[in-house]
């Protein structure tokens, strides 16, 4: 069953964000990670040394594994940052910084 129905939630209308130029729907109050997971995306970063895939690990802002680039700002914790209409979310490679 849809958890929104389970909780009797009546969320505000959904809005659109993009992940690597792909449009996703998100609900107000979601984190970036929630929006990505809801779209079936579980990895949005590659590690600095070996380029291995990373997504949510701790989910509570402690481990810094879920870092992602949001609106050109790298190293945002997807599990903490609230998603906002029009956010441009991108896979982060390495440090996310040029040079």
């Amino acid at each position: 069953m849809n958890p929104l129905e389970l909780a009797g939630a009546r969320p505000e209308p959904a809005f659109t964000v993009t992940f690597d130029d792909r449009e996703l729907q998100a609900l107000p109050g979601w984190t970036v990670a929630a929006a990505l997971w809801a779209a079936g995306i579980t990895s949005w970063r590659t590690t600095r040394r070996d380029g291995r895939p990373r997504g949510i690990f701790c989910g509570i802002g402690v481990c810094f594994d879920c870092l992602v680039t949001v609106n050109d700002r790298p190293n945002q914790r997807a599990c903490l940052v609230a998603v906002r209409p029009g956010d441009v979310i991108r896979t982060q490679e390495g440090t996310g910084h040029a040079d």
Partner: protein
């Protein structure tokens, strides 16, 4: 770290070593450090001699363990932002050169050759090629492993065993006794408590320091870079908060920003004023850091001694007890020399350096 180095050099001198630690390896001040191996911040004297000996030994260890402990012979750059500060810095550098330190004066227009992202308008600086860095938790762990000492972590020393004549014969722990003809007190900031268990006083006090950790970055800070007033802060006796910017990159990517000093006991609570002061100081040196996110902070307690010198050597008040503690913020750097000297005296030899300035009982005599 100091305990690990004592274990390594004692074991290599042929002694049977057991390491007893209340917590895990690097669970105290070692794990809260930046891993500095510095000569630049030391005035000529016994501490600098210990630092030079220690650097030589770190270089030897690096042949075995270098990559594993993130050993980086990166050098240090000390910068001044005003002419008076530069004059004092160059004066110190001249004295250090006379004591065997490599120190190269760098005019203002050459600073950016060394550090391209440094702020404009600095007056000049001094390059210290001998300054180095390790990752302290890795260093402690690898030294312990290399020592092959018996490792007893999670065991709290609750007493020091002594014969009726007063000689030390081992330690009592919460999980049984460990018998030994010699006990080395390398409990860092908590060494005063261990000394008290042996019935002797050692005035080790905690001096708190915070480190700000940035998000991982591509290499942008090449050396350990700090402001000239850091040396004065290190040598200060004040209990009040002092901060002076110290900035360094790490092998893993984050930039570490220090350094604060304050004597507030073992208070582990976060301090926003300290974090603010550290961030402000660092962005004065490296303006690009304004756009960089600080991910977290950590804090630790340097083992502070009233005269800023460690206690290294036998304690005549408790035969069989040796101290290797009180290195304040320099314990990672000074650990190898300390361990080497302790191993020399445990083996009955003459220590390579004169240990008189480091005598653990020196404060008692001063009090008389």
């Amino acid at each position: 770290m100091v305990g690990a180095a004592c274990a390594l050099y004692a074991a290599r001198a042929g002694l049977d070593v057991a390491l007893v630690d209340r917590g895990p390896v690097a669970g105290g001040t070692t794990g809260a450090g930046e891993g500095n191996l510095l000569v630049s911040d030391k005035e000529p004297g016994p501490e600098l001699e210990l630092a030079l000996l220690s650097l030589r030994l770190w270089d030897e260890l690096a042949d075995e363990l270098g990559p594993a402990v993130e050993y980086e012979p990166k050098g240090g750059v000390v910068v001044a932002s005003a002419p008076e500060g530069l004059a004092a810095l160059e004066g110190l550098a001249a004295e250090q050169r006379a004591a065997g330190v490599e120190a190269v004066d760098v005019p203002a227009n050459r600073l950016r050759d060394l550090e391209p992202h440094l702020a404009p308008g600095l007056t000049g600086g001094v390059l210290y090629p001998q300054d180095r860095q390790v990752m302290p938790a890795l260093a402690a762990a690898h030294l312990v492993r290399a020592s092959r000492a018996r490792l007893l972590t999670g065991r709290t020393v609750t007493g020091v065993l002594r014969t009726r004549q007063g000689a030390v014969r081992g330690v009592r722990t919460d999980r049984g006794d460990v018998h030994a003809p010699a006990v080395v007190n390398a409990a860092g900031t908590w060494s005063g408590e261990v000394a008290a268990l042996a019935g002797v006083t050692l005035p080790v006090l905690p001096r708190r320091g915070f480190v700000l950790v940035t998000e991982p970055l591509p290499p942008r800070v090449r050396h350990k870079v700090y402001a000239a007033d850091y040396v004065a802060d290190v040598a200060s006796d004040s209990a009040a908060l002092q901060t002076s910017p110290v900035v360094e990159g790490t092998a893993a990517g984050p930039v570490l920003i220090g350094a604060s000093r304050e004597r507030v006991g073992f208070d582990r609570s976060f301090s926003l004023p300290v974090a603010r002061a550290l961030a402000a100081g660092a962005t004065r040196l490296f303006p690009f850091l304004e756009q960089v996110r600080a991910m977290r902070t950590y804090l630790g307690f340097r083992p502070y001694m009233p005269d800023h010198l460690p206690a290294v050597g036998p304690d005549p008040r408790a035969p069989g007890l040796y101290h290797a503690c009180g290195h304040e913020g320099a314990g990672i750097g000074l650990s190898t020399g300390t361990g080497h000297l302790i191993a020399q005296i445990l083996g009955g030899g003459r220590p390579e350096l004169d240990l008189t300035p480091f005598r653990p009982e020196r404060f008692e005599q001063e009090a008389v």
